[in-house]
């Protein structure tokens, strides 16, 4: 199956479209398009609503007049986020953590995937097994917590980085890429010319692997940016919390207030919805902005990973 993936995207497209070109446009086509359009609307409209709310006037929002068009446009809420500064700080901090995480992650991923992609490597099966077990079985929250505590990583920035940089899943994708896309003959000839393994890796393999490096870097970056369960376990200090975790804390405190239906009016006035919406947008915008540019890389490698299954 692995052979198919590279060409499959194009071939399949052409043949399946070609085979259907004979047909006329039917009701079923219209229904399918409608169904897909509705699903897409559920993916866009909520965010549009939040965005619109975040720049609308407080009174219009309280009067429940704001749907998908802003009323009384102002950027007061964003202004107070910047004045407060703590969220801006955690955004910067999250970017820093994500960057370090991605660089180290790619490094460890390459260090594992390249040697293991070599058929001749003695002890390969054993080492692969050793490196795959953590994917299927983890010790669990408390033993890991005690371990982090003993390693003096508890409540530090590094606890968000070291434990997760090695990802068996990403390693598999990279290994598959090395095996399928870099011709053995190329490396063999370099080997015969007296190149060492390091030289082959840095001069031949890495320059040829730019697409997979880009993709996996994005996997790492988005994964780190979005995950916050480890913040819940290991981080106590306010200024070491990542932006997503701050958002989570805001939601959970707000939802407790909201859950008592009677006090909702009070809750609304005390935690302005506009500010909340601005908070959500502030944290969401980075992803939404880069998303259109990066998603195609994701799709490609997800397919590669999928076929490996």
């Amino acid at each position: 199956m692995a052979k198919n993936t590279n060409t499959a995207g194009r071939d399949g497209q052409v043949s399946s479209d070609g085979s259907r070109a004979v047909n006329k446009f039917r009701i079923s086509d219209a229904l399918m398009m409608l169904f897909i359009t509705v699903l897409c609307a559920t993916c866009i409209l909520p965010f549009l609503h939040v965005a619109v709310k975040s720049i609308s006037g407080n009174s219009y929002v309280l009067a429940k007049q704001v749907y998908f068009l802003p009323k009384g446009i102002n950027f007061e809420a964003y202004g107070s986020i910047f004045r407060d500064g703590s969220l801006v700080w955690s955004m910067g901090y999250s970017v820093l953590v994500t960057l370090i995480f991605t660089v180290l992650g790619m490094l460890v991923c390459t260090c594992a995937a390249y040697p293991l992609s070599k058929k001749r490597l003695k002890g390969k099966t054993g080492i692969t097994f050793l490196l795959m077990i953590p994917m299927y079985f983890s010790a669990g929250i408390i033993p890991s917590f005690v371990l982090m505590y003993n390693l003096k990583l508890y409540d530090t920035m590094w606890v968000l980085i070291w434990p997760l940089i090695y990802s068996p899943y990403n390693m598999l994708i990279m290994k598959t890429f090395f095996q399928s896309s870099i011709p053995d003959s190329l490396e063999e000839s370099a080997f015969l010319d007296g190149a060492s393994n390091f030289q082959i890796l840095f001069k031949i393999v890495i320059p040829l692997s730019k697409p997979i490096i880009a993709t996996l870097s994005l996997f790492y970056a988005v994964g780190r940016w979005n995950a916050y369960a480890d913040n819940m376990y290991y981080i106590k200090s306010e200024n070491l919390k990542m932006a997503q975790y701050k958002l989570y804390q805001m939601v959970s405190s707000a939802s407790e207030a909201q859950s008592v239906t009677l006090s909702e009016a009070a809750a609304v006035t005390s935690t302005p919805e506009v500010l909340q919406a601005a908070f959500i947008m502030f944290v969401t915008l980075p992803i939404i902005c880069i998303y259109p540019f990066v998603q195609k890389y994701f799709v490609k490698s997800a397919m590669a990973g999928a076929v490996k299954g």
């Binding site: 399918m32 993916c43 490196l131 959970s252 939802s255 909201q258």
Partner: protein
């Protein structure tokens, strides 16, 4: 450095020769091995706390051994039984509703006529996968709050309902909302694998079927679906392994006191008992139970798939 340049025959190389030739590769491997050793394998011995009454002040060496007492305790714990029940119920529902959705969506996307429409809609459908549960949760609250949420607001303004529907604050409504948001989050991304499998199907099959007069639905049923059967089985196996585990981020972001009955699942139990009430041994025992059942389920379903003549996973 490398005398042994002949086509490498793995079985015959001695360790000494292998090291001589590939010491740089082994050097590279030290980094990932160190990482799993320090952060994964070093945590495994900590699992012995399930046989202890673990006390963080006394540590592993000072805590008292209690044998199977912890397991006896958790199976008598009403919280655990409740968490186990809701975990299984909700994860089975997730599987039941969430698993077929990407397949259906992939079949539809595959039939869409306009490549540009297809491309744009696919891009939009993948979006929820890239957002954290904190974002999804907070947006969901904005949509579903009893009186000021968008959905209730619209329904009330239209005069369809008089009182807001408690989508996230009443347990049965919560259950439906929670499940649907889960399906919604995963459906677009889930299609990728199936679309990849569909493109691997031989186009001639479709042509032959059309000549034989098979209409669109028949082609879907007799060619596309059988063509991706292997992929479906593989993914089903992987998903069955998750029947015990839930996503803590997804559960906690939708937490509130009114829905405790359903929201308190194993992942929440492990987190609350362990890191919040300090019942370390109980939390770890439940965690261990959860991962073991997961591994066993994957192995079992893999075996069954192979018995049924499918490829399986392992």
């Amino acid at each position: 450095m490398a005398k042994n340049k002949k086509p490498p025959v793995v079985a015959q190389t001695t360790w000494k020769n292998a090291f001589k030739r590939d010491w740089q590769l082994y050097l590279l491997l030290l980094f990932p091995i160190a990482m799993v050793a320090i952060f994964n394998y070093a945590a495994y011995p900590g699992l012995r706390m399930v046989f202890m009454d673990y006390n963080p002040v006394k540590g592993y060496s000072g805590s008292e051994w209690v044998g199977l007492e912890t397991f006896r305790k958790i199976f008598k714990d009403a919280d655990f039984i409740r968490a186990l029940k809701s975990s299984i119920a909700f994860n089975l529902m997730d599987l039941l509703v969430g698993f077929p959705m990407p397949i259906l969506l992939a079949l539809i996307l595959n039939e869409l006529r306009y490549p540009r429409f297809k491309k744009v809609t696919q891009t939009i459908l993948y979006l929820p996968h890239f957002l954290s549960w904190a974002i999804i949760g907070s947006v969901a609250y904005t949509m579903f709050r009893p009186t000021s949420g968008l959905v209730n607001m619209a329904l009330m303004n239209a005069g369809i309902i008089e009182q807001g529907i408690p989508f996230l604050t009443e347990k049965w409504h919560w259950a439906v909302t929670y499940l649907l948001i889960g399906v919604w989050q995963g459906m677009g991304w889930g299609t990728i694998i199936y679309l990849a499998a569909i493109t691997g199907i031989n186009g001639e099959l479709y042509e032959a079927a059309m000549i034989d007069g098979a209409n669109r639905w028949k082609r879907m049923w007799h060619i596309t679906l059988p063509g991706i059967k292997g992929t479906i089985v593989t993914l089903l196996i992987m998903n069955l392994g998750r029947v015990m585990g839930s996503n803590l981020e997804r559960l906690t972001v939708f937490a509130n006191t009114q829905v405790k009955d359903f929201q308190y699942q194993l992942a929440v139990y492990i987190y609350n008992k362990g890191l919040q009430s300090g019942k370390y041994s109980m939390s770890t025992a439940v965690n261990l139970f959860q991962s073991l059942v997961g591994v066993i389920l994957v192995l079992l379903s893999d075996r069954i798939a192979k018995m049924l003549g499918e490829d399986g996973l392992l």
